[in-house]
Symmetry: C2
Subunit: 401 residues, 2 copies
Amino acid sequence: MASAEKIHRAARRAVKARLDGYDVVLVVSAMGKTTDSLIALAKEVTPRPPRREMDMLLTTGEQVSIALMAMAIDAAGHRAISLTGGQLGLVTNGVHMEARIQRISRARIEQELQAGNIVIVAGFQGIDERGEITTLGRGASDTTAAALAAVLDAEICEIYTDVDGVYTTDPRIEPHARKLDVIGYDEMLEMAGAGAKVMHSRAIEFGKKFQVPIHVRSSLTDTQGTLIMAETPGMEDIVVRGVTLQENLATVVLIGVPNNPGMAATVFAEIARHHIVVDDIIQNIYDGGNVANIGFSTRQTEADRVRELGQQLAARYGFRGTEVDENVCKVSVVGIGMRTHSGVASRVFQTLADAKINIHSISTSEIVIGCIINQADGHRAVQALHAAFELDRPESTKAPA
Amino acid sequence: MASAEKIHRAARRAVKARLDGYDVVLVVSAMGKTTDSLIALAKEVTPRPPRREMDMLLTTGEQVSIALMAMAIDAAGHRAISLTGGQLGLVTNGVHMEARIQRISRARIEQELQAGNIVIVAGFQGIDERGEITTLGRGASDTTAAALAAVLDAEICEIYTDVDGVYTTDPRIEPHARKLDVIGYDEMLEMAGAGAKVMHSRAIEFGKKFQVPIHVRSSLTDTQGTLIMAETPGMEDIVVRGVTLQENLATVVLIGVPNNPGMAATVFAEIARHHIVVDDIIQNIYDGGNVANIGFSTRQTEADRVRELGQQLAARYGFRGTEVDENVCKVSVVGIGMRTHSGVASRVFQTLADAKINIHSISTSEIVIGCIINQADGHRAVQALHAAFELDRPESTKAPA
């Protein structure tokens, strides 16, 4: 949300839905750059603000929004009431700045809906058992919406955003990227996990768990966006739904690690203790099974810390050394169709080979094939794969694969 | 509060008090122009925002401040915790935008003090029995502070403000105005009621009721301000403590009102029903007691509404008419010394007469003498009275009156 005009637009939409006969619960995030401004304010005071006080600070952004939204709906002639996370009864586990929702009370919302109100809820926030104010992590207003939709048995959860839906890939990388009409929960989860920034993963998880369809659409237009929904048999006809790119990664290989039982566990416990996020772990053994190379990927910004930690671990546990490559990215293709169609992996590898792109490592899951490649090849890889799987063509015109 | 530097200054002061051995509870208001900006934001959305949602909106200002203050104290190396009105347990009567404090829980604050925290409380706000967010009216952070000081049996309530104390009169009107070292609760109440804008009346009332001394002082310097305290016998030696001026008033006279029993009650009930604030009611009877003129003062901005209402009432109850003078002000002298010293009123009238200032009407109470005069004479009247009662001379140099 940004200006008064945006608030009125959202208010009109909510009133229209109410007049169409729906009970409407509106989850609102902070306006425009509010959250960034509040973070900047905290940084002016201290470089290391306590997390509890950051939550106290940041939740004001959504509180301003809900008040203004209630005013706008009131001005449009409809009853409305705003509720903070605490007033609503959204209870979290109390971990500041990255709390998890533990439960949501239906009582207050249902009471306000029965009184004829459009209910406006502050996203991103909740309280713990002791009444402490907690937030769910950046961008988590989507999560609040999906969780509420689940608890209230909503027909649909609509997410109004600054894009008009989910695309086959990032249109800034591939101009032929196409908006998807539908996508499965699992596909969307993998797309989000692999770099598509449309939605918070936890919002999609709530949708999936409670089978609430999520409609991602533009806050500026009335056009249909993308429906994130349970898979239907027909959805598997599309082998690849989208291509994603995670940039600014680093790969790390711990070389010559003694292959004792429990060594990998020890190593990754140390890494976790340093709060380094790790992905795509690959282990090879050699020298008759006595020695292993353990590889993983992480964020580029962690490269220096990982290098230093690798040296310490090497000294302590008798490794040969650590190799870090800071200039890699990961391109992934995602699609539930892979479950029932073979040959997808080989088509990915052949496409990249034809484009003269070298693959450092490969990781696959049931519906994803991901390749670590040089950072410089990232955009070309996305474009090549997007073309190879004909993602620019509308689904209806494609022959079943 | 305004910038980060101001926050750090307040934080250092709180830490110093803590290191001096005091338990410290800090009540914080919104920063700089925050409240005005939030009101402007609401007005952008709608000219008539619901009062409940205004409270939801405005309380974010103090919530931002308490979070930043807790961060600053943490950065200064001391434990701190911020509490909203709701978390603290400040319960109000639920009237939005002008709630009254009903009770304050000691439990949470005492628990946090025992844990070694400096406790930072959001001023101006509380919740009602149902958890609805309410505010206490503009400038009411002082009230929160005084009420908390009372509940916690505090030794002192310090109010840090943008002036360095309470003055004998407004220094913008009389350059010889002098900062008072002490003032009695009742004198301060009358000064506040008669136009001195240093403090909220309700804050002073809490101080008086629970006998908590209130030290009004500058947030910019460490110099002593003014101590608002219980009267001591010596304080009565000063006949007049200060002179105040209420500008932009209007006087209204309802002429020829039939003097039936209950007529005045009927008239003022009508006026109250129109939410017109009335002061200084004067009634004269004439024509053998059958007819009265009823005069009162009100805000200049109400003049048109009062004139219109007066015409309606005249028609309904058989008055002769309504006279409204929109260009008056009220100059008052305040001092508990009046209780024991005679001749103060005549000195006031003589001073104004010497200055050729005409008095429209007079109202007195035990410790106040107020005169309605022409708006144009206001500043001259203040200067003349300030000189006549030697308010520019330090108290210690004055002979007992």
